[in-house]
Symmetry: C2
Subunit: 113 residues, 2 copies
Amino acid sequence: MATLNRPGADDGHICGIDTAMEVIGGKWKVLILWALHEQPHRRFGELRRLVPGITEKVLASHLREMEADGVVDRVSYEEVPPRVEYALTKDGIRLNDALEPLAAWGRERVSGP
Amino acid sequence: MATLNRPGADDGHICGIDTAMEVIGGKWKVLILWALHEQPHRRFGELRRLVPGITEKVLASHLREMEADGVVDRVSYEEVPPRVEYALTKDGIRLNDALEPLAAWGRERVSGP
DNA sequence: CTGCATCCGTTATGATACTG
DNA sequence: CAGTATCATAACGGATGCAG
């Protein structure tokens, strides 16, 4: 290959990582993925508590993006009070699995080799 | 565990991924890593060509950050004209390896399952 | 050749208040 | 409960010019 390529170029993804980076690019997305990985069918309020520091606005927009990216499923139950549940899609689960080695790297880095 | 945690919190990194995300958080860092993985001891100008679209300022600042994070080694030869070479550290190599499953995920996503 | 300084626009993230 | 609207700020990236 002559050069590496940016997202959006014809091929764009010689190493494929940029594709993934676009999906997990939000500041809190990996934590959301992680929370949904531990237990599927989390409600909005649960996620808000599980990811301390995140605002409702950012949580909502991240969830919408992840839904659009096909890694998260959103199920809205038409009841009162409202109930909405989020879960990983199959692709989201695979994404989370692919993140595990990275998590291991981070853990080693914190605790030392 | 009660909650997930942000970087900087006491534990901070229950899943360890946020640690890694901080290191690869720059827009072009994974591409720089990739370029250095293919062949160590790249020069500044080489990297600029290998990562089309990146500006000198951003390349320089990314390299400095990655050096501070201990994933890149910088070797400056005191000659004229100046020559500076960059290479992955051991930790950088392991990081790149940890990125591979993510790259695979991205590749599948582009080409279809 | 390497790469820092400055200015500047865009995007991402945050705080707060409000609605169905 | 599950969001949306609005306003404000910060972080990031890009363009250009200059220096060792």
